[in-house]
Protein backbone atom coordinates (compact mmCIF):
# COMPACT_ATOMS: atom_id res chain seq x y z
CA UNK A 1 0.00 0.00 0.00
CA UNK A 2 2.73 2.40 1.00
CA UNK A 3 4.82 1.50 -2.05
CA UNK A 4 1.85 2.01 -4.35
CA UNK A 5 1.20 5.36 -2.75
CA UNK A 6 4.81 6.45 -3.19
CA UNK A 7 4.77 5.38 -6.81
CA UNK A 8 1.53 7.23 -7.36
CA UNK A 9 2.89 10.39 -5.79
CA UNK A 10 6.09 10.14 -7.76
CA UNK A 11 4.07 9.86 -10.97
CA UNK A 12 2.07 12.92 -10.04
CA UNK A 13 5.22 14.86 -9.22
CA UNK A 14 6.77 13.68 -12.45
CA UNK A 15 3.71 14.81 -14.38
CA UNK A 16 3.90 18.20 -12.73
CA UNK A 17 7.59 18.60 -13.46
CA UNK A 18 7.14 17.44 -17.03
CA UNK A 19 4.35 19.90 -17.61
CA UNK A 20 6.31 22.77 -16.12
CA UNK A 21 9.44 21.76 -18.01
CA UNK A 22 7.66 21.86 -21.34
CA UNK A 23 8.90 25.21 -22.48
CA UNK A 24 7.84 24.54 -26.01
CA UNK A 25 4.22 23.61 -25.32
CA UNK A 26 1.87 26.52 -25.41
CA UNK A 27 0.63 29.25 -27.68
CA UNK A 28 1.73 32.68 -28.81
CA UNK A 29 -0.28 35.65 -27.54
CA UNK A 30 -2.09 36.04 -30.86
CA UNK A 31 -3.27 32.41 -30.71
CA UNK A 32 -5.37 32.91 -27.58
CA UNK A 33 -8.63 33.61 -29.39
CA UNK A 34 -10.39 30.37 -28.38
CA UNK A 35 -8.75 30.16 -24.96
CA UNK A 36 -9.98 33.66 -24.20
CA UNK A 37 -13.63 32.65 -24.50
CA UNK A 38 -15.37 32.75 -21.13
CA UNK A 39 -16.56 29.15 -21.55
CA UNK A 40 -12.96 27.95 -21.95
CA UNK A 41 -11.91 29.11 -18.49
CA UNK A 42 -11.27 26.17 -16.17
CA UNK A 43 -13.60 27.78 -13.64
CA UNK A 44 -16.25 28.93 -16.10
CA UNK A 45 -19.21 27.99 -13.89
CA UNK A 46 -18.20 28.60 -10.29
CA UNK A 47 -21.76 28.47 -8.98
CA UNK A 48 -22.49 25.08 -10.56
CA UNK A 49 -19.15 23.81 -9.28
CA UNK A 50 -19.86 25.02 -5.74
CA UNK A 51 -23.30 23.40 -5.74
CA UNK A 52 -21.98 20.13 -7.14
CA UNK A 53 -19.12 20.08 -4.63
CA UNK A 54 -21.60 20.56 -1.79
CA UNK A 55 -23.95 17.82 -3.03
CA UNK A 56 -21.16 15.29 -3.57
CA UNK A 57 -19.42 16.20 -0.31
CA UNK A 58 -22.57 15.36 1.60
CA UNK A 59 -23.22 12.09 -0.24
CA UNK A 60 -19.78 10.66 -0.95
CA UNK A 61 -16.58 10.00 0.97
CA UNK A 62 -14.22 11.82 -1.40
CA UNK A 63 -14.43 15.55 -1.90
CA UNK A 64 -12.96 18.51 -3.70
CA UNK A 65 -9.75 18.19 -5.68
CA UNK A 66 -10.37 20.96 -8.12
CA UNK A 67 -9.52 23.71 -5.69
CA UNK A 68 -9.83 24.33 -2.02
CA UNK A 69 -12.50 23.10 0.26
CA UNK A 70 -14.47 26.21 0.99
CA UNK A 71 -15.26 25.21 4.50
CA UNK A 72 -17.03 22.50 6.35
CA UNK A 73 -20.57 21.48 6.68
CA UNK A 74 -22.09 19.11 9.16
CA UNK A 75 -23.60 17.07 6.38
CA UNK A 76 -20.90 14.43 6.39
Amino acid sequence: MRLARLVGLACAAGAILTMTGCGTIGVKPWQRDLLAKKEMALDANPLDAAIDDHVYFSKEAASGGRGFGGGGCGCN
Partner: protein
Protein backbone atom coordinates in the same frame (compact mmCIF):
# COMPACT_ATOMS: atom_id res chain seq x y z
CA UNK B 1 -4.08 52.76 -12.68
CA UNK B 2 -4.04 56.06 -14.51
CA UNK B 3 -6.46 58.84 -13.72
CA UNK B 4 -8.24 60.79 -16.38
CA UNK B 5 -6.60 64.18 -16.95
CA UNK B 6 -7.58 67.12 -19.14
CA UNK B 7 -5.50 66.90 -22.35
CA UNK B 8 -2.24 68.81 -22.28
CA UNK B 9 -1.53 71.39 -24.98
CA UNK B 10 0.85 68.91 -26.58
CA UNK B 11 -1.81 66.24 -26.69
CA UNK B 12 -4.38 68.62 -28.12
CA UNK B 13 -1.88 69.76 -30.72
CA UNK B 14 -1.16 66.18 -31.67
CA UNK B 15 -4.84 65.29 -31.85
CA UNK B 16 -5.47 68.29 -34.08
CA UNK B 17 -2.52 67.44 -36.32
CA UNK B 18 -3.66 63.84 -36.63
CA UNK B 19 -7.17 64.97 -37.38
CA UNK B 20 -5.92 67.27 -40.11
CA UNK B 21 -3.80 64.53 -41.65
CA UNK B 22 -6.47 61.86 -41.64
CA UNK B 23 -9.25 64.20 -42.58
CA UNK B 24 -11.60 62.97 -39.88
CA UNK B 25 -11.75 63.31 -36.15
CA UNK B 26 -10.42 60.19 -34.51
CA UNK B 27 -12.32 58.62 -31.63
CA UNK B 28 -10.67 58.21 -28.25
CA UNK B 29 -9.00 54.95 -27.44
CA UNK B 30 -10.94 52.90 -24.96
CA UNK B 31 -9.34 49.98 -23.25
CA UNK B 32 -11.19 47.72 -20.90
CA UNK B 33 -9.88 45.06 -18.52
CA UNK B 34 -7.09 47.02 -16.88
CA UNK B 35 -9.68 49.32 -15.47
CA UNK B 36 -12.50 48.69 -13.10
CA UNK B 37 -15.06 46.10 -14.18
CA UNK B 38 -18.77 46.10 -13.41
CA UNK B 39 -20.08 43.88 -10.62
CA UNK B 40 -20.80 40.28 -11.55
CA UNK B 41 -23.74 38.61 -9.86
CA UNK B 42 -24.24 34.88 -10.13
CA UNK B 43 -27.34 33.68 -8.30
CA UNK B 44 -29.11 30.37 -8.17
CA UNK B 45 -31.66 28.30 -6.35
CA UNK B 46 -31.03 24.61 -5.91
CA UNK B 47 -33.83 22.14 -5.31
CA UNK B 48 -32.58 18.71 -4.29
CA UNK B 49 -34.89 15.80 -3.60
CA UNK B 50 -34.06 12.21 -2.78
CA UNK B 51 -36.63 9.50 -3.39
CA UNK B 52 -38.44 7.39 -0.78
CA UNK B 53 -39.20 10.33 1.50
CA UNK B 54 -35.56 11.04 2.14
CA UNK B 55 -33.64 14.29 2.30
CA UNK B 56 -34.96 17.31 0.49
CA UNK B 57 -33.29 20.67 0.40
CA UNK B 58 -33.77 24.11 -1.05
CA UNK B 59 -30.66 26.23 -1.27
CA UNK B 60 -30.55 29.77 -2.59
CA UNK B 61 -27.00 30.92 -3.24
CA UNK B 62 -25.57 34.14 -4.58
CA UNK B 63 -22.05 35.05 -5.59
CA UNK B 64 -20.71 38.54 -6.17
CA UNK B 65 -17.46 39.28 -7.93
CA UNK B 66 -15.94 42.72 -8.38
CA UNK B 67 -12.77 43.46 -10.28
CA UNK B 68 -11.43 46.82 -9.12
CA UNK B 69 -8.96 46.94 -12.00
CA UNK B 70 -5.43 45.59 -12.46
CA UNK B 71 -6.70 42.16 -11.37
CA UNK B 72 -7.66 43.18 -7.83
CA UNK B 73 -10.73 41.01 -7.32
CA UNK B 74 -13.14 40.75 -4.41
CA UNK B 75 -15.53 37.81 -4.16
CA UNK B 76 -18.43 37.31 -1.77
CA UNK B 77 -20.68 34.25 -1.62
CA UNK B 78 -23.76 33.81 0.53
CA UNK B 79 -25.69 30.57 0.79
CA UNK B 80 -28.72 29.47 2.72
CA UNK B 81 -29.70 25.86 2.99
CA UNK B 82 -32.81 24.30 4.43
CA UNK B 83 -32.97 20.53 4.85
CA UNK B 84 -35.96 18.35 5.62
CA UNK B 85 -36.87 14.73 5.12
CA UNK B 86 -35.53 11.49 6.48
CA UNK B 87 -31.91 10.42 6.59
CA UNK B 88 -30.73 6.79 7.02
CA UNK B 89 -29.66 6.20 10.61
CA UNK B 90 -27.28 3.37 9.70
CA UNK B 91 -29.43 0.47 10.90
CA UNK B 92 -30.41 -2.21 8.39
CA UNK B 93 -33.97 -3.20 7.54
CA UNK B 94 -35.48 -6.04 9.55
CA UNK B 95 -38.32 -8.50 9.16
CA UNK B 96 -39.90 -6.92 12.26
CA UNK B 97 -40.83 -3.31 12.90
CA UNK B 98 -38.07 -1.36 14.65
CA UNK B 99 -38.27 1.55 17.08
CA UNK B 100 -35.59 4.17 17.42
CA UNK B 101 -35.04 7.19 19.63
CA UNK B 102 -33.77 10.51 18.42
CA UNK B 103 -32.81 13.57 20.44
CA UNK B 104 -34.38 15.78 17.79
CA UNK B 105 -38.00 16.42 17.02
CA UNK B 106 -40.90 18.04 18.79
CA UNK B 107 -42.39 15.16 20.75
CA UNK B 108 -39.57 14.60 23.20
CA UNK B 109 -40.51 12.33 26.08
CA UNK B 110 -38.64 11.41 29.20
CA UNK B 111 -36.74 8.17 29.01
CA UNK B 112 -37.22 5.53 31.70
CA UNK B 113 -35.12 2.57 32.68
CA UNK B 114 -31.76 4.05 31.75
CA UNK B 115 -29.14 5.61 34.03
CA UNK B 116 -29.22 9.37 34.37
CA UNK B 117 -25.43 9.66 34.60
CA UNK B 118 -22.54 7.55 33.47
CA UNK B 119 -18.85 7.39 34.40
CA UNK B 120 -16.41 7.10 31.50
CA UNK B 121 -13.35 4.79 31.75
CA UNK B 122 -11.22 7.88 32.38
CA UNK B 123 -13.37 8.76 35.39
CA UNK B 124 -15.40 11.58 33.83
CA UNK B 125 -19.07 11.72 34.82
CA UNK B 126 -21.42 12.58 31.97
CA UNK B 127 -25.20 12.95 31.85
CA UNK B 128 -27.23 10.51 29.79
CA UNK B 129 -29.86 11.82 27.44
CA UNK B 130 -33.04 12.77 29.27
CA UNK B 131 -35.60 13.26 26.52
CA UNK B 132 -36.06 11.61 23.16
CA UNK B 133 -38.57 11.27 20.36
CA UNK B 134 -39.41 7.72 19.38
CA UNK B 135 -40.08 6.73 15.82
CA UNK B 136 -40.94 3.39 14.26
CA UNK B 137 -39.90 1.86 10.98
CA UNK B 138 -42.01 -0.67 9.12
CA UNK B 139 -40.63 -4.13 8.35
CA UNK B 140 -38.34 -4.46 5.37
CA UNK B 141 -37.90 -0.68 5.04
CA UNK B 142 -34.58 1.09 5.39
CA UNK B 143 -34.66 2.89 8.75
CA UNK B 144 -34.77 6.65 8.23
CA UNK B 145 -34.76 9.26 10.96
CA UNK B 146 -37.68 11.47 9.93
CA UNK B 147 -36.82 14.20 12.42
CA UNK B 148 -33.72 15.13 10.53
CA UNK B 149 -33.94 18.77 9.68
CA UNK B 150 -31.33 21.45 9.52
CA UNK B 151 -30.75 24.91 8.24
CA UNK B 152 -27.41 26.29 7.25
CA UNK B 153 -26.10 29.79 6.53
CA UNK B 154 -22.72 30.23 4.97
CA UNK B 155 -20.65 33.23 3.92
CA UNK B 156 -17.40 33.29 1.98
CA UNK B 157 -15.17 36.24 1.20
CA UNK B 158 -12.11 36.17 -1.02
CA UNK B 159 -9.54 38.65 -2.28
CA UNK B 160 -7.06 38.16 -5.08
CA UNK B 161 -4.41 40.48 -6.46
CA UNK B 162 -1.06 40.49 -8.23
CA UNK B 163 1.91 40.70 -5.86
CA UNK B 164 4.80 40.68 -8.33
CA UNK B 165 5.28 40.35 -12.06
CA UNK B 166 3.30 37.32 -13.23
CA UNK B 167 2.56 36.37 -9.64
CA UNK B 168 -0.84 36.42 -7.98
CA UNK B 169 -1.94 35.81 -4.44
CA UNK B 170 -5.36 35.08 -2.99
CA UNK B 171 -6.84 34.66 0.44
CA UNK B 172 -10.31 33.55 1.42
CA UNK B 173 -12.34 33.07 4.56
CA UNK B 174 -15.46 31.08 5.29
CA UNK B 175 -17.97 31.01 8.09
CA UNK B 176 -20.99 28.77 8.39
CA UNK B 177 -23.56 27.96 10.99
CA UNK B 178 -25.98 25.08 11.28
CA UNK B 179 -28.21 23.97 14.11
CA UNK B 180 -25.57 21.52 15.28
CA UNK B 181 -22.38 22.56 13.51
CA UNK B 182 -20.26 25.70 13.11
CA UNK B 183 -17.33 26.06 10.79
CA UNK B 184 -14.63 28.67 10.22
CA UNK B 185 -12.08 28.20 7.47
CA UNK B 186 -9.48 30.07 5.49
CA UNK B 187 -7.29 29.41 2.50
CA UNK B 188 -4.36 31.22 0.92
CA UNK B 189 -2.66 30.57 -2.38
CA UNK B 190 0.13 31.88 -4.54
CA UNK B 191 0.42 31.35 -8.27
CA UNK B 192 3.08 32.19 -10.81
CA UNK B 193 2.80 32.38 -14.58
CA UNK B 194 5.69 31.71 -16.88
CA UNK B 195 6.46 30.40 -20.31
CA UNK B 196 4.60 33.28 -21.93
CA UNK B 197 1.70 32.72 -19.49
CA UNK B 198 1.26 29.23 -20.89
CA UNK B 199 2.15 27.60 -17.60
CA UNK B 200 0.87 28.53 -14.16
CA UNK B 201 2.06 26.90 -10.99
CA UNK B 202 0.03 27.30 -7.80
CA UNK B 203 0.52 26.36 -4.21
CA UNK B 204 -1.87 26.90 -1.38
CA UNK B 205 -2.77 26.00 2.17
CA UNK B 206 -6.10 25.77 3.89
CA UNK B 207 -7.25 25.38 7.45
CA UNK B 208 -10.61 24.73 9.04
CA UNK B 209 -11.90 24.64 12.60
CA UNK B 210 -15.30 23.15 13.29
CA UNK B 211 -17.48 23.00 16.39
CA UNK B 212 -19.64 19.88 16.40
CA UNK B 213 -22.61 20.36 18.70
CA UNK B 214 -24.85 17.35 18.20
CA UNK B 215 -28.37 17.78 19.48
CA UNK B 216 -28.50 15.93 22.78
CA UNK B 217 -24.72 15.73 22.90
CA UNK B 218 -22.22 13.50 21.12
CA UNK B 219 -22.76 9.86 21.99
CA UNK B 220 -19.98 7.76 23.46
CA UNK B 221 -18.53 6.04 20.41
CA UNK B 222 -19.34 2.36 20.06
CA UNK B 223 -21.57 2.37 23.10
CA UNK B 224 -24.91 0.63 23.39
CA UNK B 225 -27.52 2.72 21.64
CA UNK B 226 -30.20 2.11 24.25
CA UNK B 227 -28.02 3.57 26.97
CA UNK B 228 -28.11 6.91 25.18
CA UNK B 229 -24.84 7.95 26.77
CA UNK B 230 -23.73 11.33 25.68
CA UNK B 231 -20.70 13.46 26.29
CA UNK B 232 -21.29 16.93 25.07
CA UNK B 233 -19.90 19.03 22.23
CA UNK B 234 -16.86 18.25 20.18
CA UNK B 235 -14.56 19.89 17.71
CA UNK B 236 -12.42 19.04 14.76
CA UNK B 237 -9.83 20.76 12.62
CA UNK B 238 -8.53 20.26 9.12
CA UNK B 239 -5.22 21.40 7.66
CA UNK B 240 -4.42 20.93 4.01
CA UNK B 241 -2.34 21.98 1.07
CA UNK B 242 -2.65 22.11 -2.68
CA UNK B 243 -0.09 22.02 -5.48
CA UNK B 244 -1.27 22.61 -8.98
CA UNK B 245 -0.10 23.30 -12.48
CA UNK B 246 -2.18 24.67 -15.33
CA UNK B 247 -0.80 24.30 -18.82
CA UNK B 248 -2.02 25.60 -22.17
CA UNK B 249 -1.57 22.51 -24.31
CA UNK B 250 -2.65 24.03 -27.62
CA UNK B 251 -4.81 26.73 -29.10
CA UNK B 252 -7.83 24.55 -28.27
CA UNK B 253 -6.90 22.82 -25.03
CA UNK B 254 -5.93 23.82 -21.54
CA UNK B 255 -5.23 21.28 -18.81
CA UNK B 256 -4.84 21.37 -15.07
CA UNK B 257 -3.26 18.92 -12.64
CA UNK B 258 -3.85 19.38 -8.90
CA UNK B 259 -2.57 17.42 -5.96
CA UNK B 260 -4.30 18.02 -2.65
CA UNK B 261 -3.48 16.71 0.79
CA UNK B 262 -5.43 17.21 3.97
CA UNK B 263 -5.39 15.96 7.51
CA UNK B 264 -8.43 16.02 9.76
CA UNK B 265 -8.15 15.77 13.51
CA UNK B 266 -10.82 15.55 16.19
CA UNK B 267 -14.40 14.35 16.27
CA UNK B 268 -14.99 12.78 12.85
CA UNK B 269 -17.87 10.46 13.80
CA UNK B 270 -21.46 11.02 12.72
CA UNK B 271 -23.19 11.48 16.11
CA UNK B 272 -26.60 10.36 14.88
CA UNK B 273 -25.63 7.13 13.19
CA UNK B 274 -25.83 3.61 14.57
CA UNK B 275 -24.93 0.09 13.49
CA UNK B 276 -27.32 -2.87 13.78
CA UNK B 277 -26.13 -5.88 15.81
CA UNK B 278 -27.63 -9.20 14.74
CA UNK B 279 -27.45 -12.76 16.04
CA UNK B 280 -26.57 -15.89 14.06
CA UNK B 281 -29.99 -16.04 12.38
CA UNK B 282 -29.91 -12.36 11.38
CA UNK B 283 -32.43 -11.14 13.94
CA UNK B 284 -31.39 -7.80 15.38
CA UNK B 285 -30.40 -7.88 19.04
CA UNK B 286 -29.46 -4.25 19.51
CA UNK B 287 -27.61 -1.29 18.08
CA UNK B 288 -24.32 0.46 18.71
CA UNK B 289 -23.38 4.07 18.12
CA UNK B 290 -20.81 4.35 15.40
CA UNK B 291 -17.22 5.28 16.16
CA UNK B 292 -14.70 6.61 13.64
CA UNK B 293 -10.98 7.28 14.14
CA UNK B 294 -10.08 10.74 15.34
CA UNK B 295 -7.64 11.29 12.51
CA UNK B 296 -8.03 11.12 8.75
CA UNK B 297 -5.44 11.84 6.05
CA UNK B 298 -6.63 12.26 2.47
CA UNK B 299 -4.87 12.77 -0.84
CA UNK B 300 -6.26 13.38 -4.25
CA UNK B 301 -4.98 13.90 -7.74
CA UNK B 302 -7.23 15.86 -10.10
CA UNK B 303 -6.72 16.16 -13.82
CA UNK B 304 -9.05 18.61 -15.50
CA UNK B 305 -9.34 19.78 -19.11
CA UNK B 306 -11.16 22.30 -21.20
CA UNK B 307 -11.06 21.66 -24.93
CA UNK B 308 -12.66 23.35 -27.90
CA UNK B 309 -13.87 20.53 -30.13
CA UNK B 310 -15.95 20.95 -33.23
CA UNK B 311 -17.16 24.40 -32.23
CA UNK B 312 -18.26 23.31 -28.75
CA UNK B 313 -16.52 23.36 -25.39
CA UNK B 314 -15.74 20.04 -23.68
CA UNK B 315 -14.95 19.90 -19.97
CA UNK B 316 -13.59 16.55 -18.91
CA UNK B 317 -11.85 15.60 -15.70
CA UNK B 318 -10.60 12.62 -13.73
CA UNK B 319 -9.96 12.53 -10.00
CA UNK B 320 -8.34 9.80 -7.97
CA UNK B 321 -8.63 10.00 -4.18
CA UNK B 322 -7.52 7.90 -1.29
CA UNK B 323 -7.33 8.21 2.44
CA UNK B 324 -6.08 6.30 5.46
CA UNK B 325 -9.54 5.04 6.29
CA UNK B 326 -9.06 2.70 3.33
CA UNK B 327 -11.40 4.57 1.01
CA UNK B 328 -10.28 4.83 -2.58
CA UNK B 329 -12.31 6.56 -5.24
CA UNK B 330 -12.31 7.40 -8.94
CA UNK B 331 -14.36 10.11 -10.56
CA UNK B 332 -14.85 10.92 -14.23
CA UNK B 333 -16.87 14.03 -15.01
CA UNK B 334 -17.71 15.39 -18.44
CA UNK B 335 -19.71 18.29 -19.79
CA UNK B 336 -20.23 19.42 -23.36
CA UNK B 337 -21.41 22.96 -23.94
CA UNK B 338 -23.25 23.10 -27.24
CA UNK B 339 -23.80 26.54 -28.70
CA UNK B 340 -27.22 26.71 -30.33
CA UNK B 341 -26.78 30.27 -31.57
CA UNK B 342 -28.59 33.43 -30.45
CA UNK B 343 -26.89 33.20 -27.04
CA UNK B 344 -28.60 29.89 -26.28
CA UNK B 345 -26.71 26.82 -25.18
CA UNK B 346 -27.35 23.29 -24.03
CA UNK B 347 -24.84 21.56 -21.80
CA UNK B 348 -25.33 17.83 -21.21
CA UNK B 349 -23.47 16.44 -18.23
CA UNK B 350 -22.43 12.96 -17.17
CA UNK B 351 -20.47 11.86 -14.12
CA UNK B 352 -19.33 8.47 -13.07
CA UNK B 353 -18.06 7.81 -9.54
CA UNK B 354 -16.86 4.73 -7.76
CA UNK B 355 -15.68 4.44 -4.18
CA UNK B 356 -14.41 1.55 -2.07
CA UNK B 357 -15.62 1.06 1.48
CA UNK B 358 -13.85 2.34 4.57
CA UNK B 359 -11.85 -0.25 6.53
CA UNK B 360 -14.25 0.01 9.45
CA UNK B 361 -17.44 -0.01 7.40
CA UNK B 362 -19.84 -2.80 8.26
CA UNK B 363 -23.31 -3.32 6.88
CA UNK B 364 -24.14 -4.72 10.33
CA UNK B 365 -22.31 -6.40 13.22
CA UNK B 366 -22.50 -10.00 14.37
CA UNK B 367 -23.23 -10.31 18.07
CA UNK B 368 -20.67 -13.09 18.36
CA UNK B 369 -17.83 -10.96 17.00
CA UNK B 370 -15.70 -8.79 19.26
CA UNK B 371 -16.65 -5.13 19.11
CA UNK B 372 -14.21 -3.45 16.69
CA UNK B 373 -12.38 -0.28 17.73
CA UNK B 374 -13.95 1.64 14.87
CA UNK B 375 -17.26 0.92 13.22
CA UNK B 376 -19.76 2.61 10.95
CA UNK B 377 -22.69 1.57 8.79
CA UNK B 378 -23.02 4.99 7.16
CA UNK B 379 -23.92 4.32 3.49
CA UNK B 380 -21.62 7.21 2.56
CA UNK B 381 -18.63 5.10 3.62
CA UNK B 382 -19.75 1.99 1.74
CA UNK B 383 -18.56 0.59 -1.56
CA UNK B 384 -20.80 2.01 -4.28
CA UNK B 385 -20.98 3.29 -7.84
CA UNK B 386 -22.75 6.54 -8.55
CA UNK B 387 -23.81 8.18 -11.78
CA UNK B 388 -25.13 11.58 -12.65
CA UNK B 389 -26.92 12.44 -15.87
CA UNK B 390 -28.44 15.73 -16.75
CA UNK B 391 -28.31 18.87 -18.79
CA UNK B 392 -28.21 22.60 -18.37
CA UNK B 393 -30.06 24.93 -20.67
CA UNK B 394 -29.09 28.59 -20.79
CA UNK B 395 -30.42 31.68 -22.56
CA UNK B 396 -28.64 35.00 -22.75
CA UNK B 397 -30.33 38.41 -22.92
CA UNK B 398 -29.07 41.87 -23.61
CA UNK B 399 -25.43 40.82 -23.74
CA UNK B 400 -25.07 40.86 -19.97
CA UNK B 401 -27.73 38.58 -18.49
CA UNK B 402 -28.15 34.83 -18.59
CA UNK B 403 -30.92 32.60 -17.26
CA UNK B 404 -30.29 28.92 -16.91
CA UNK B 405 -32.03 25.73 -15.84
CA UNK B 406 -30.14 22.61 -14.84
CA UNK B 407 -31.89 19.28 -14.30
CA UNK B 408 -29.94 16.21 -13.25
CA UNK B 409 -30.46 12.81 -11.76
CA UNK B 410 -27.94 11.35 -9.31
CA UNK B 411 -28.01 7.68 -8.39
CA UNK B 412 -25.98 5.61 -5.97
CA UNK B 413 -25.82 1.82 -6.33
CA UNK B 414 -24.10 0.13 -3.39
CA UNK B 415 -22.28 -3.15 -3.92
CA UNK B 416 -22.96 -4.78 -0.57
CA UNK B 417 -26.71 -5.10 -0.18
CA UNK B 418 -27.55 -8.63 0.96
CA UNK B 419 -26.69 -11.12 3.65
CA UNK B 420 -26.71 -14.88 3.76
CA UNK B 421 -28.22 -14.93 7.26
CA UNK B 422 -31.67 -16.54 7.42
CA UNK B 423 -33.70 -13.63 8.78
CA UNK B 424 -32.14 -11.20 6.31
CA UNK B 425 -32.90 -13.21 3.18
CA UNK B 426 -34.71 -11.24 0.50
CA UNK B 427 -34.03 -7.89 2.17
CA UNK B 428 -32.15 -5.14 0.42
CA UNK B 429 -29.98 -3.94 3.26
CA UNK B 430 -28.56 -0.88 1.49
CA UNK B 431 -30.90 0.20 -1.30
CA UNK B 432 -28.87 3.13 -2.54
CA UNK B 433 -30.12 6.50 -3.51
CA UNK B 434 -31.91 8.30 -6.33
CA UNK B 435 -31.95 12.09 -6.42
CA UNK B 436 -33.32 14.80 -8.62
CA UNK B 437 -31.39 18.04 -8.76
CA UNK B 438 -32.97 21.15 -10.24
CA UNK B 439 -31.11 24.42 -10.32
CA UNK B 440 -32.40 27.74 -11.59
CA UNK B 441 -29.69 30.27 -12.30
CA UNK B 442 -29.45 33.99 -13.04
CA UNK B 443 -26.20 35.56 -14.02
CA UNK B 444 -25.67 39.25 -14.53
CA UNK B 445 -22.44 39.60 -16.43
CA UNK B 446 -20.49 42.13 -18.37
Amino acid sequence: MQLKKPPTPLRLGLMAASCALLGSPAAKAQTAADGEQPLLIDAGVLYYKEDQGRVQTIEPIVRFKKDYGDEHVLGVTLAFDSLTGGSPNGAIPSRKAQTFATPSGTSLQPVSGVPQTYTTPSGQVVAALAKVTLYSVQPALLPLDPNFHDRRIAADVSWAQPVATDTHASIAGHLSNELDFDSAAFNAALSHDFNGKNTTVSAGVNGELDAVKPIGGAPVGGSDYTQLLKNGSKSKDVVGGLLGVTQVMSRRWVAQLNYTYDKSNGYLTDPYKIVSVVDGTGTETGYRFESRPDKRTRQSLYFGNKAYVGGEVLDISYRRSKDDWGIKSDTVDGRLRIDLGNDIYLEPHARWYHQGAADFYHLYLNQSDALPAYLSADPRLADFKATTFGAKFGVGFGGNTELSLRIEQYQQKPTDTTSSLAALQGLNLNPGLKTVIVQLGWRYDY
